[in-house]
């Protein structure tokens, strides 16, 4: 079947999270993407676990593979004097060039927007970095794991009587690309209609802050500095996750309306405590939430998380198993949605990749190739895609340009 972005060509000089994920989503929808690294400075993600059989190795890392599937992988030593000519050929070929180094580094490597625009005035280029290309903190180093703290989400996660606990991993690395893809595809459309290219400066910090706008307004309007509140909600009780049968198994339940509370009580067989005035209204239940949660836990612990979820859902309540990294790939809904796609990687073997979180009815998402090994497609990309002659390819290879 045809894909929406067929014919779009991306020279992806970016690394780690956001930049590669943006290019990967384009690849899922038909774009031709070349991920450009160097043996002299491989994508740092290749050095992070997990590895095949727990043995480290640049081509054994699933983390890198899973953020770069659908792309051809080449190596190019940007510090080599003859790399400039190859970069120019990439830019001439591409519609989009990407980079995600610390601000200032792209210029030193000869792939800044000014550099590539000189080769191709209508090129679209995006840079993604932590904090944006300008400003006093632009060059501050850091990873997505730091960004979740800066953006405010860590402070808002955990229990009020304890230290904040970070939301897992590099949350901003997954949020920012959704903004990046939206703006980049809009830029592609604009280019198609007007012939004009442009430069996109994506700050992970700025894009992710948008999710918290109501709290920013709450601070201004009401002087309130939002705090972490465990699993409670100002509008619902019970609202939390409850222990279920088995080791560390939990089910989330959210009861918002009086009708839902009635239905909830029925599901748990109307024990006497549900008639206690301490639990008669949502406000009363909020006041006595600790006791409420303890009593509910006494009921849920006798059932599996799946049983609790199904019983609640059948009665019209929002409820869901707390899936874990070990159970998520078996989640029936995600299976139905083909969210995880198995691909055979040359060194890792068969493993699973996330599809895009949306399906398009006529131009589907397709995961075609596993993440590339370092330099896996050098010959194909340089000779077939960029049209470098065999002789020149061999000569450049000999000179170490493709390291």
């Amino acid at each position: 079947m045809k894909q929406a972005l067929e014919g779009v060509k991306v020279a992806d000089f970016s690394w780690v999270g956001v930049g590669p994920i943006i290019a990967r989503i384009l690849a899922h929808h038909g774009a031709t993407v070349v991920h450009i690294e160097s043996e002299t400075a491989p994508d740092p993600l290749r050095a992070l676990a997990p590895y095949k059989d727990n043995i480290s190795g640049l081509n054994r890392c699933a983390y890198h593979a899973c953020l770069n599937d659908g792309k051809y992988g080449v190596t190019l030593n940007l510090r080599h004097p003859k790399a400039k000519g190859v970069v120019e050929r990439f830019v001439e070929w591409a519609d989009v060039v990407s980079e995600s180094f610390a601000p200032g580094v792209a210029a030193r490597l000869g792939i800044s927007y000014e550099d590539v625009r000189e080769v191709k005035p209508d090129i679209i280029m995006y840079s993604s970095c932590n904090l944006g290309q300008t400003g006093p903190h632009a060059r501050f180093r850091g990873f997505g794991t730091n960004l979740v703290a800066l953006v405010g989400t860590t402070h808002l996660t955990g229990w009020p009587d304890r230290m904040p606990t970070p939301p897992y991993g590099a949350l901003t690395d997954v949020i920012a690309p959704l903004f990046g893809v939206s703006a980049l595809v809009a830029a592609l459309d604009y280019h198609r209609k007007t012939g004009k290219g442009q430069y996109l400066d994506l700050s992970q910090f700025e894009s992710t802050v948008h999710f918290l706008t109501p709290l920013i307004l709450d601070y201004q309007a009401n002087g309130r500095v939002a705090q972490r509140t465990g699993n409670t909600s100002p509008y619902a009780a019970p609202h939390g996750v409850y222990p279920c049968k088995g080791h560390d198994r939990w089910c989330a339940i959210a009861v918002h309306t009086p009708e839902e509370w009635k239905a909830f009580c029925k599901v748990i067989d109307n024990p006497d405590w549900t008639k206690d005035p301490r639990f008669s209204s949502v406000l009363a239940r909020r006041r006595n939430e600790e006791e409420l949660n303890r009593l509910i836990g006494e009921w849920t612990i006798g059932l599996s998380a799946e049983e609790v979820m199904v019983k609640m859902q059948e009665a019209g309540m929002a409820a869901g198993v707390v899936e874990t990294p070990g159970t998520i790939q078996d989640n029936p809904q995600l299976k139905h949605r083909h969210h995880y796609r198995a691909l055979e990687h040359p060194e890792i073997g068969l493993h699973h990749y996330d599809a895009t979180p949306f399906t398009l009815s006529k131009t589907p998402c397709d995961l075609k190739m596993p993440g590339p090994c370092l330099g896996q497609h050098n010959e194909y990309v340089y000779t077939k895609i960029l049209g470098i002659s065999d002789e020149e390819f061999v000569a450049l290879l000999g000179e170490g340009v493709f390291e």
Partner: protein
């Protein structure tokens, strides 16, 4: 098409969403689209979502509503009555995109599903946003933020081990799903502009959040190792043991993650020297050769000793001092920002991120987040005030669709608008 109006300046969007999808339309507004928020007569139920301006619950004062409807125009329309559906079909004729977040199948039941709408307008893109997607065994499941955070697996990794997993205390699952929907909509739009062909975009919040499991899922997929929530510690970075990554400091908390080898050497050495120069040196850290420091060989006892020494130093400095001064010394320490810290962040200020929006009805000016990406040619549209209930009824129904005042009165009496 002038660059000031954004890349989507000739694009018309009808927005039928509630809190599950508002953010998608907001992103399309920022990209320049003319987004018309369609509310049921009397106003959208998510105008009742707090917080509220001056804590006064009022459908015109929901800060949640104001946040995610900036720049939209607003009309009231009841698509459950036949007059309302007729008007909606008229609007669909001249729209490019319809966004909705009803329960799957609801629009179909009104005769307004994708197959119906695409007959009226074959180039139309219908974007459906739901907790779990339009198909599959959970499609009719009831959801709320915590349930999506649970079923995506994400919350299993947050929280203290001796307590239940926790979600982030402010809902983000629906924004996540809606931002994914915006990306999908743009890809469909690109295709539509090229070929004239519309299609149905089906976005799932569960899938969007599940993607954030990243390497935690991969640890299981490859090696059947399951990472667990570890409170303010982090697991999975070193072979054994857990490392503290959130530390107390003088005025709150900071985030500091120790990496081994070359990746961490600069920060680790810089911090060791900084502590020494302030008379708070750690004998233990002073003896380490950071270039060859291997996380895999550090014992839990060693981690505990680092952490004690480092925290004693952090407690003498503020978040901001550790962040700013640390960076000068090549030491990566990040503040665990409160919302106030985010609002006052010098980097955001220097980039003119916050943009003033006048609220004459509240007699206030509020600062909103500016463009989510800075584009050199098609600058994103700055935020402007969200619509009041039915604010643009006259503009759309009278000026655009040419309805007479009598007709409008009739439709109002028929509870269509």
């Amino acid at each position: 098409m002038s660059q000031k109006d954004g890349p989507l300046s000739s694009c018309r969007v009808l927005d039928l969403t509630d809190e599950k999808g508002l953010f998608c339309g907001k992103m399309l507004v920022d990209l320049g689209a003319d987004v018309i928020k369609i509310e049921p007569p009397g106003g959208d139920p998510c105008r009742n979502v707090g917080p509220f301006y001056r804590d006064i619950p009022d459908p015109e004062k929901s800060l949640y509503w104001l946040s995610f409807n900036t720049g939209k125009r607003g009309i009231t329309l009841n698509i459950e009555v036949s007059d309302g559906r007729r008007i909606f079909r008229q609007l669909v004729e001249r729209a490019d995109i319809v966004i909705e977040s009803y329960e799957p199948g609801y629009l179909d039941s009104l005769g307004l599903g994708y197959s119906d709408l695409s007959q009226i307008n074959p180039g139309l893109i219908l974007t459906s946003i739901s907790p779990f997607g339009e198909t599959g065994p959970y499609k009719d499941f009831k959801a709320s933020d915590i349930v999506v955070m649970a079923l995506s697996g994400y919350m299993s990794l947050s929280g203290d081990p001796d307590r239940p997993p926790v979600r982030t205390s402010f809902p983000i699952a629906y924004c996540f799903g809606a931002a994914g929907a915006a990306a999908g909509t743009m890809i469909a739009y690109y295709h539509r502009e090229l070929t004239g062909e519309g299609q149905w975009v089906d976005a799932s919040a569960q899938q969007a959040v599940a993607s954030a499991l990243l390497n935690a899922r991969m640890h299981w997929d490859l090696n059947r190792v399951e990472l667990k929530r570890a409170g303010p510690y982090r697991v999975g970075l070193s072979a054994q043991g857990k490392q503290l990554i959130n530390f107390r400091c003088k005025d709150g908390y900071v985030n500091f993650v120790m990496f081994g080898g070359k990746t961490g050497a600069k920060t680790n050495r810089g911090l060791t020297q900084w502590m020494e120069s302030e008379g708070m040196g750690s004998d233990f850290m002073n003896e380490i050769d950071w270039d060859s420091f291997d996380m895999a060989r550090v014992s839990q006892d060693d981690f505990d000793r680092f952490e004690g020494d480092i925290e004693r130093f952090f407690l003498t400095r503020t978040k901001s001092e550790l962040y700013e001064e640390g960076s000068k010394r090549g030491v990566t320490i990040y503040p665990i920002s409160t919302i106030r810290d985010v609002f006052e962040d010098p980097q955001l200020e220097a980039r003119d991120f916050w943009q003033r929006v006048e609220h004459p009805e509240l007699d206030a000016t509020l600062l909103y987040p500016g463009p989510f990406v800075k584009c050199s040619q098609t600058q994103l549209r700055p935020p402007s005030r969200a619509p009041r209930i039915g604010e643009h009824n006259q503009e759309i129904y009278h000026n655009e669709l040419g309805m007479s005042p009598e007709e409008l009165v009739m439709l109002r009496q028929a509870k269509a608008i």
